[in-house]
Symmetry: C2
């Protein structure tokens, strides 16, 4: 049984605490937040504290805070030589203070407090400095998810950028679709099956195989009609993405 203390009270911390509390392979020791009221709902699961200097021994400390707070928090930990991981996609393993053993426990998913996610389908990307530490992280990750990957800091950086494209930017394109619907008294509802099918298609086809549309088939007349229809901001995005589909270059 791996004993774990979670540090943080944001979306990722919330989902991790929930998932850890449901696993029999791990035991929550303490939950830390600067403002301990943010963790009130978990008061039955573990001791809640806002006192970093009084942290108790645990096998693993999971720092799930915003990227710029990771370094400072890891420096302020009142112990040495224990295993400390962060959960960030974009911070290197070297961003953790060197007095402790370092690692990364990065669940690659988009978390919202008001939407539950099925943790056992979330890929967890692990990095550690020694095989023993990796093994411990693998045990913990394996207790939550069936998809566990060794990913080093360089790969994780790439993965985080890729995630921005397929999540943040994709969602922004959904927002543009919704704006266009709103402006024309069309229910956004009508686009939802297309949104789901577009995602589902790349589960079995590669994105290149799945590509369709006026850009792909070089349908200049339709492209021009669309450009004429769009306001400035959306026109620029339409133009650039169309050009990229037509002339796209690989990395």
């Amino acid at each position: 049984m791996v004993t774990i203390t979670v540090i943080g009270s944001g979306n990722v911390a919330h989902h991790l605490i929930q998932a850890f509390s449901q696993s029999t392979a791990v035991e929550l020791v303490q939950l830390f937040a600067r403002d301990s009221r943010a963790l009130e709902q978990f008061s039955g699961l573990a001791e809640i504290t806002d006192d970093l200097s009084g942290l108790k021994p645990a096998d693993l400390y999971v720092i799930a805070v915003s990227d710029d707070a990771i370094g400072m928090l890891s420096e302020r930990l009142p112990f040495e030589n224990r295993l400390v991981v962060h959960t960030s996609g974009s911070v290197s393993i070297e961003g953790l203070d060197h007095k402790n053993r370092r690692g990364v426990f990065y669940p690659l998913q988009t978390f919202s407090k008001n939407k539950t996610v099925d943790f056992d389908k979330i890929p967890i990307c692990l990095e550690a400095q020694t095989p023993d530490d990796y093994k411990m992280l693998e045990t913990v990750a394996g207790a939550l998810s069936k998809k566990v990957y060794p990913i080093d800091s360089t790969q994780r950086q790439a993965l985080h950028v890729a995630a921005v494209f397929v999540n943040n930017f994709v969602n922004h394109l959904y927002a543009m679709g919704a704006d266009i619907c709103d402006a024309n008294q069309i229910p956004f509802e009508i686009l939802k099956p297309l949104i789901l099918e577009t995602a589902d298609k790349v589960m079995t086809l590669t994105p290149n195989e799945a590509q369709t549309g006026p850009a792909k088939r070089n349908d200049a007349a339709t492209i021009q009609k669309h450009l004429d229809f769009l306001p400035d901001n959306q026109q620029k995005i339409y133009e650039l993405l169309t050009h990229s589909i037509q002339h796209g270059q690989k990395l």
Copy 2:
């Protein structure tokens, strides 16, 4: 029972023929293709012909061909005052020859020949010139799908542009994610749960509510790190979409 002749042999025609053949509310009369071999697989369902001048009477003629062939094909139909519809998102109802009654039967989905779709979840957008013709189209659409919407030519144009954003462009962002993975020896597999969850999220939240990421939270350090990491083509797209999330204007 509405009798239908389908004109065309592309993806949309294939899926429509299949769906019509499974419905008890409609009856297929003929299937037309310039090269009738393209419809060989449907030879048990209806008469297949490559002779436009010999088309038999039917209640409804569905022209499912490429956008630029619709007008010409509708002109060459050897009859008058029958109901003729096209299936295009981007061609006006006025793109059909005026000697026949005109309409539009636009299934809003992305079709690939090698992937089956569940037709009863596909929104079908209808337009007609008279209430009677609309009613007939509604009967036919209702036999295939639970989601049937009256959408006029201006709205359909807007909808088609919106569909390009949430389908073609979204898929291109998936392709960029896959390219970034490839270049860094990361399996694309690892992004798939995120892709599905991103789509699933906007089934219950609005895209604006669902927006997360460095652009949304104005995380300049991460944005700069990502820009430095990306090659030219992807950098430009990253920059423009980030700017649009930060300063986006509504239509």
